[in-house]
Subunit: 433 residues, 2 copies
């Protein structure tokens, strides 16, 4: 995790009042997360709070992650932000960015170091000193832009986590950092924890400080869970989530009913399934909730379409697979795009990947190394003998081997929350002029 | 309407007790209908009644119709049924067929003729005589089987209407014939009237005799309404409506909510729109209800997909068209399949067809005569100059001219209910042995 594709060189001027400027830095990585119970619709756009609770799995960071270095110095003349190597002008004034920077800085603590001379603690930066410093933030992610996998959750989670480390911030109540991340990007609050994470809708408090993420179970509790992500090719331009959900809230009566009557029941079901490691229940409610989310998109006026015919063929394949097995061995879920995320258990992942590679093959088998993120697993899957009756069932849906419907396959799993990286993993290369 | 593609020759034996058998016959045609407010889900499978009311437009019969000859004779030794020229064995014992034949015969009246000798009325068949006779039914429809357009509604409506004529049946309460047709095929009850027809869910009466169709407005009330039907090519096998709706009733909480809370409001809105000839309101609620019906299919577990990527591209084109026009000029609706039915007004039909032919062209322009049911209109549309800004808007959705996405286009309109045909249009050719 030491690759820094976007090293940024910044010249820092010496100033009369600070001839030897100190630059404080922290670097973290954060995971993306894939929801099983979907967030769709804002209850309060100002606080960026949801109309219903949601639950997701934070994914392992070895393939997909966001890395952010947050730095602060009295010698910086303004707040600056770089994304994937390019500076984002005026970013410092954006509502989302300010909510995160100002929100975390308000929780800053004194920075204390041990004095080498006498071994005593020495405050090098006071809580108030931080307020006098501007920040430079640089972030990059390892999400192929082609993939269309939501990177904003990982990005804002990494931003908040880096700022927390930088300022030595401390929560005044549990989950306060997630409430800050939520104002950057709603689902980012769930990426501040690893494993299985719930985002409680909240709303009992007027300032929505109860709209926070909570860890339901960590990544070690049910480590057999695997995720296979099919990056589906799509020509059509998608509706942005923010626009889409405001249209849905404004026009879909089914969405309001879902948020009020259905999601609370499903949150109970899935949390119990996770605690009991009950994949049958976990998988079923995950599939039902993905379908219901897309149903409310279709009930929006004008309707919003995220799944395409390839997405639908994956849905049908998975149902045929489970029917053939006589149990739920795989569960699909789709976010605001055509990509399929398939949850399964380690004991079935080779069979599932074999099915995926059979019906959604790479353009050429030589390319399997570029096509599947885990080559060893891909080789096992290519050698796996699929049961003829299973193939017959899948082909009944009209599915045939079709090259190019899927661009790439990620084989991953649940993982931890934000990780603090070694200073040498920092994205900045500051040069004092 | 005199073509009889399936003339059927039947040998009728002379019997000792009836040396000169009389064969009573009636022939009718009936329309199909396309719902604007959708029927999806049975409240009572035995009575074949719906969980919500629905509303449809009965289409003109020149292109699409079912023709049925019902005959009865004391010399027939059993009930028999022919569909499109082939006898359906054991049809006479099917629940749906029996419900229609026995239901209408129970309302039979005496058949009276004027005696040429003395000009007096003479009863040739008593109400009770009908019970002693078996029936021979022959039906055919003009729906291209490839089209996948629902023909069962027209078929059962034609069956019931033919039996009514044959038996001189009289309703004991208004709508009783539609209650009988509903037991043959739910939506058939709406094809017993022309124009705009509502099917009232009923349920206040234990025998569901209040689940009947009513004409909201006849075909002359708003004759400017046009329907353009895009027969969309589709590889996938579809879920039958009967199976699909029982799965939806069993698994979709959104469907139950829709039936209970949303459809009653929409029935009021659309009936008012029809009476006021308000296309803006009629079109909007029609599109919203089509989308919501397909949303409940997607919310079914396992999900049911009827629309495909071509269907969705039509939806997006129509929304771009209406947005460009600043008013609703066309409204789409999709039944349990990928075919699009576009409602519009006569003043916009050429522009709409031009748009359809531009983005869903025939395989070759020479074929336009086979591709579009109305050649004159097709020629007008091909010469129509589409506004560049409209084409730009449509192409923003990613739509490009694509040959073969649509197999055929019907240009039609609202029309009357069942029509009694001349005896020479009868489907049977009876030969007394």
């Amino acid at each position: 995790m030491t690759s820094q594709p976007h090293k940024i060189t910044v010249l820092v001027p010496k100033t009369s009042d600070d001839p030897n400027p100190i630059i404080h830095q922290a670097t973290v990585s954060a995971p993306t997360n894939i929801a099983c119970i979907k967030y769709w619709g804002k209850a309060n756009p100002q606080y960026n709070t949801p109309i219903n609770s949601s639950l997701s799995v934070s994914l392992d960071q070895s393939d997909l992650r966001a890395v952010t270095t947050a730095s602060a110095s009295s010698s910086f003349d303004r707040d600056r932000l770089w994304l994937n190597g390019s500076e984002v002008l005026d970013a410092a004034t954006s509502k989302r960015f300010r909510a995160c920077v100002d929100g975390v800085r308000a929780l800053a603590t004194d920075k204390v170091v041990v004095d080498p001379a006498n071994g005593a603690n020495r405050v090098v930066v006071t809580k108030d000193d931080w307020r006098g410093m501007h920040v430079h933030i640089a972030s990059y992610n390892t999400f192929p832009t082609a993939a269309g996998l939501a990177s904003s959750a990982a990005g804002y989670a990494a931003l908040v986590a880096a700022l927390v480390r930088l300022f030595g911030a401390e929560e005044s109540y549990p989950g306060e950092f997630t409430a800050i991340a939520r104002q950057g990007s709603g689902s980012a609050c769930r990426s501040l924890y690893g494993g299985f994470v719930a985002w409680r809708a909240g709303g009992a408090k007027s300032d929505w400080s109860d709209s926070i993420a909570e860890q339901v179970a960590d990544e070690l509790h049910w480590e057999e869970v695997r995720a296979v992500i099919l990056v589906v090719s799509d020509a059509k331009k998608e509706t942005s989530s923010t626009d889409g959900m405001s249209d849905s809230v404004a026009t879909s009566e089914l969405l309001a009913f879902r948020a009020r009557e259905i999601v609370p029941k499903r949150m109970k079901i899935i949390e119990e399934a996770i605690k009991a490691k009950d994949f049958e229940s976990f998988g079923k409610v995950t599939m039902m909730d993905s379908n219901q989310f897309h149903a409310t998109c279709l009930d929006t006026y004008p309707p919003i379409f995220y799944m395409n015919d390839v997405s639908r063929s994956v849905v049908q394949m998975i149902h045929k697979y489970n029917a053939w097995a006589g149990e739920i061995r795989a569960a699909y879920t789709f976010d605001a795009g055509p990509n399929a995320v398939l949850y399964t258990l380690d004991k079935h992942v080779v069979e599932l990947l074999a099915l995926v590679l059979k019906y959604y093959p790479a353009l050429s088998d030589d390319l399997v190394g570029d096509y599947v993120s885990n080559l060893a697993l891909a080789k096992e899957a290519l050698e796996f003998k699929l049961c003829p009756s299973l193939m017959a069932a899948v082909e009944k849906t009209g599915r045939v081997h079709k090259h190019g419907d899927v661009k790439m396959v990620y084989c991953t799993r649940g993982g931890p929350g934000p990780q603090t990286l070694d200073p040498c993993d920092g994205v900045f290369d500051f040069k004092i002029e």
